[in-house]
């Protein structure tokens, strides 16, 4: 019965939510961004979950696992299919280098600081401290695009090049997150939380490539323009379920396999736009369901976690600012980039959520801490991010049109 009620609430919310998520216009920027990111669904999950009404308890959440696996593969495909190398090449190469430097520095700073924090408190074992710190570092480095999108919808910016750079970083640093997450998974043994030997890492890589490329090749072989809507839906759904299911069965990541398959399709299939449109159509309801389930797994009874959240927030901000500062200093830019531009890249969510959901499936016993830290910090970052972006552009706002709050600027 619990499962039935859970399904009805989640499906109903996903259906209604996918229609109204982006239409609130009378709210402050930060609050608008909170809704834009879909954090309200995490709160709904929290209400339904173990810390709330207990409708979505651990057993019920486990029953949703096949859907989560499918959803992760879907997110991977959707993210990967947007990486058409031809298009990426048209953008300045410096952008990529700046993104890489800021991503690596953020990762290092957050991982080290969190590891030190856990070691000083010595409440978790050394191995667990390493794993949790690394995963926090991985999630910290990616930037969500929501705050930039909100800022772009409400204001006009004089220096569009700077804005393009920020959008580029927010779009591409997720790829680094995924790359580090892949390395992490390859070099750890699921379940035992120990470091895996090189041979095991190679095996992981081989299986991931297999689980990604076989479905992608099937898609390429089967794909043709003449498919009816239903046929194409069937093919795409089948491919995604097959990728996710194979990954889960092999003990690898559905998110990473989906990502690789998506990139492969993006660069080899001439009908990729049709697939992208289908994936985008299903994104919102899938994302909402995943957020609700993520929220349900949020354990509010964590001791010492508030301190960990504070450390994470401080060092993520420091990592982003220092990382971007170092990156910008390393390259000569054709336009002025403010030294504190890293503050504009604090928005968190999207890929980070995908990564912790995937981590939760593989390491359920280690993920409660991470979920706690990421969810609270996301709430904070989303609230302040739009204002911080505006602060970076303060001197560059087009004075003639002015900072037109509420103006919808479709670009």
């Amino acid at each position: 019965m619990k499962f039935l009620i859970a399904i009805i609430i989640i499906a109903g919310t996903a259906l209604i939510g996918s229609r109204i998520t982006f239409i609130r216009k009378q709210l402050g920027l930060g609050v608008k961004n909170i809704f834009f990111t879909g954090i309200e669904y995490i709160l709904l999950g929290l209400l339904l979950g173990g810390s709330g009404l207990k409708i979505l308890d651990t057993d019920t959440i486990r029953k949703f696992q096949p859907f989560l696996i499918f959803g992760l593969a879907w997110v991977g495909y959707l993210y990967g299919i947007q990486f058409e190398i031809k298009l990426v090449r048209t953008l300045p190469k410096k952008f990529f280098s700046i993104t890489a430097i800021q991503a690596i520095i953020t990762f290092v700073i957050v991982s080290l600081s969190m590891f030190t924090f856990f070691c000083l408190l010595s409440i978790i074992s050394f191995e667990k401290a390493i794993i949790i710190s690394i995963v926090l570092g991985i999630t910290a480095l990616s930037t969500a695009q929501s705050a930039l999108a909100i800022a772009n919808r409400n204001f006009k910016f004089k220096d569009q090049r700077l804005f393009d750079l920020l959008r580029y970083i927010a779009a591409v640093d997720g790829l680094f997150s995924m790359f580090f997450f892949s390395l992490f998974l390859a070099f750890t043994n699921p379940g035992t939380a120990t470091i895996a030997p090189l041979l095991s890492a190679l095996k992981w890589t081989g299986l991931t490539t297999f689980a990604a490329l076989i479905p992608a090749m099937i898609f390429l072989l089967m794909n043709k323009t003449g498919y009816k809507h239903g046929d194409f839906l069937l093919l795409l759904t089948g491919i995604i379920a097959f990728t996710g299911g194979m990954s889960w069965q092999l003990g690898i990541s559905p998110l990473i396999s989906g990502l690789i398959a998506g990139i492969f399709i993006a660069n080899t299939c001439k009908f990729r736009i049709r697939a992208l449109n289908f994936l985008s159509d299903g994104e919102k309801p899938i994302y909402i369901i995943m957020l609700i389930i993520l929220g349900a797994g949020w354990d509010l009874g964590q001791k010492m976690s508030m301190a960990a959240v504070l450390i994470f927030i401080v060092f993520r901000a420091a990592g982003k600012v220092m990382g971007n500062f170092a990156a910008v200093k390393s390259f000569r830019s054709a336009f002025r980039i403010p030294p504190g531009v890293g503050f504009s890249l604090l928005s968190q969510g999207g890929i980070s959520f995908g990564i912790i959901i995937n981590f939760n499936i593989l390491y359920p016993e280690l993920s409660t801490q991470i979920i706690y830290i990421i969810l609270i910090s996301t709430f904070f970052f989303e609230l302040i991010s739009p204002r911080l972006i505006l602060a970076s552009f303060q001197e560059r706002v087009n004075q003639t049109s002015g900072p037109l709050s509420g103006e919808y600027d479709e670009k």
């Binding site: 499906a11 259906l15 996918s18 229609r19 299986l207 809507h229 089948g238 097959f242 069965q249 092999l250």
Partner: protein
């Protein structure tokens, strides 16, 4: 064709690797439902295509794919895994019931009322009496029937007869959608199949009640059973009408992801009827079982006939019908228990032949009496062979009511139903083609017309 063959090989190879690879998880032997669904969708999609190329219905391909890769032949997934996925079948059935109801158009029924009435009555009477007689005459060859006295033998034979009358709207709808068939033959067959779906529940209840008198000495005719059955049907129609009005409201006023809403509504109806049934049984000691498929069918019928949104409804349903059919028929194929089939296949085959012969005779005389169109006269019997879900549902009721004989009846009739499930769609597709109502046959005809005009 070559691409699809390579795809098929790739899917199989991938599954073999997954089964044999040393994985990173120390989990048990269970296979992820996500993987099974992915495999089912892809493999059936390809197999369906091969069948289509061979002139056979895609859904037969889906059934065969489920059967071959299922728990009794290649064992790509276990019986437990299939059982876990059976909820998808319920969802698909609800979806198909919505579709079936919305395919019934009062105007068309009224237009073809004479053949519909004659065929419904004629085929029902001939098949029921013909199959009953066949089973009765061969009862000495059926081991479990031998010890029963004569009246009980007739009663048991009549159970075979009544279940033989049932048909499969889901297969009929799937074939019509696949072939994009349209015309008087199509609508007549579909109308009769759907009407029979309702009628069979009433007839079955009557036969079972009468049989109880014969097989359980001392029992009396259960008027209450028949009364409650009528009540169930009336309530189902009322609820279906209200649900239909709600769907009309959704189409008209709310912009929602329609296909998902329809499946969610189907799920809700199934769960609601189960809940209502157990609630009434626990609190009022009444055995009221609302048939969810009747509710969905009535809802579809309401949208089609009591609003201007019938075509929009059908179009939107059609958008996602293929994945639904693939999942439904593949799981149906995977659920075919070959062990039971092996045990009862000879008797099953005899009943299968008898049923088809009776359908032919019944259709022949009914259409002649109704002076139906030639294409209906010659091909209607081909549309009545399909059998699936409802027959299996009735069989479980037989087992519940008459446990001793029921289990043997079930074993034999499952074999018959399996044959009908595989042969039925082929027959119907052939019938539609012969009647010239499929998209392809219409295209062929127009091309021929163009050629003769040119020469």
């Amino acid at each position: 064709m070559r691409n699809r063959l390579i795809t098929f090989i790739l899917i199989i190879l991938a599954m073999l690797v997954v089964f044999n690879a040393e994985t990173f998880l120390n989990s048990d032997d269970s296979i992820s439902p996500t993987l099974i669904i992915g495999f089912m969708l892809l493999s059936s999609f390809v197999v369906g295509f091969f069948f289509e190329k061979g002139g056979l219905p895609r859904i037969t391909g889906y059934i065969i794919s489920g059967l071959v890769f299922g728990p009794f032949i290649l064992k790509f997934y276990s019986l437990g895994s299939v059982e876990e996925l059976l909820f998808l079948n319920s969802l698909a059935l609800a979806f198909i019931a919505f579709n079936a109801g919305s395919e019934l158009k009062i105007k068309e029924i009224v237009h073809d009322i004479k053949p519909i009435l004659y065929l419904t009555l004629g085929v029902t009477i001939v098949v029921f009496s013909g199959v009953t007689a066949t089973v009765f005459f061969i009862s000495e060859l059926i081991p479990f029937m031998r010890p029963y006295p004569l009246p009980a033998k007739i009663a048991i034979a009549s159970i075979f007869g009544i279940i033989s009358v049932a048909r499969s709207p889901s297969s009929a709808i799937a074939i019509i959608n696949e072939t994009k068939a349209k015309g008087s033959y199509t609508s007549t067959i579909l109308s009769i199949t759907i009407i029979m779906d309702v009628l069979i529940i009433i007839l079955f209840a009557l036969v079972i009640s009468i049989n109880s008198l014969i097989m359980e000495p001392g029992s009396s005719f259960e008027f209450s059973f028949v009364f409650f059955l009528f009540l169930e049907i009336v309530i189902a129609f009322i609820l279906g009408f209200l649900l239909g009005k709600f769907i009309i409201f959704l189409i008209n006023r709310v912009k929602v992801e329609f296909s998902v809403v329809i499946i969610a509504l189907g799920f809700f109806v199934i769960k609601f009827t189960h809940f209502a049934g157990s609630f009434i049984s626990n609190n009022y000691e009444m055995n009221l079982h609302l048939e969810p498929l009747l509710i969905c069918m009535a809802a579809g019928f309401t949208v089609q006939n009591f609003s201007g949104y019938g075509d929009i409804f059908l179009k939107r349903m059609d958008k996602i019908s293929i994945p639904v059919y693939v999942a439904f028929f593949t799981i149906t194929g995977a659920s075919i228990n070959l062990n039971i089939l092996r045990a009862g296949w000879i008797l099953g085959l005899i009943i299968f032949i008898s049923r088809i012969s009776m359908i032919y005779l019944g259709s022949f005389f009914s259409t002649k009496a109704a002076r139906a169109e030639k294409k209906i006269r010659e091909n209607s019997w081909l549309g009545f062979i399909t059998q699936a879900g409802i027959s299996l549902g009735l069989l479980s009721e037989v087992v519940r009511r008459f446990p001793e004989a029921g289990i043997h009846i079930q074993a034999i009739l499952i074999a018959t139903i399996t044959l009908n499930q595989i042969i039925g769609p082929i027959g119907f597709k052939y019938g539609l083609h012969r009647a010239g109502e499929t998209f392809l046959s219409k295209k062929e005809r127009s091309e021929k017309g163009n050629k003769s005009e040119n020469t």
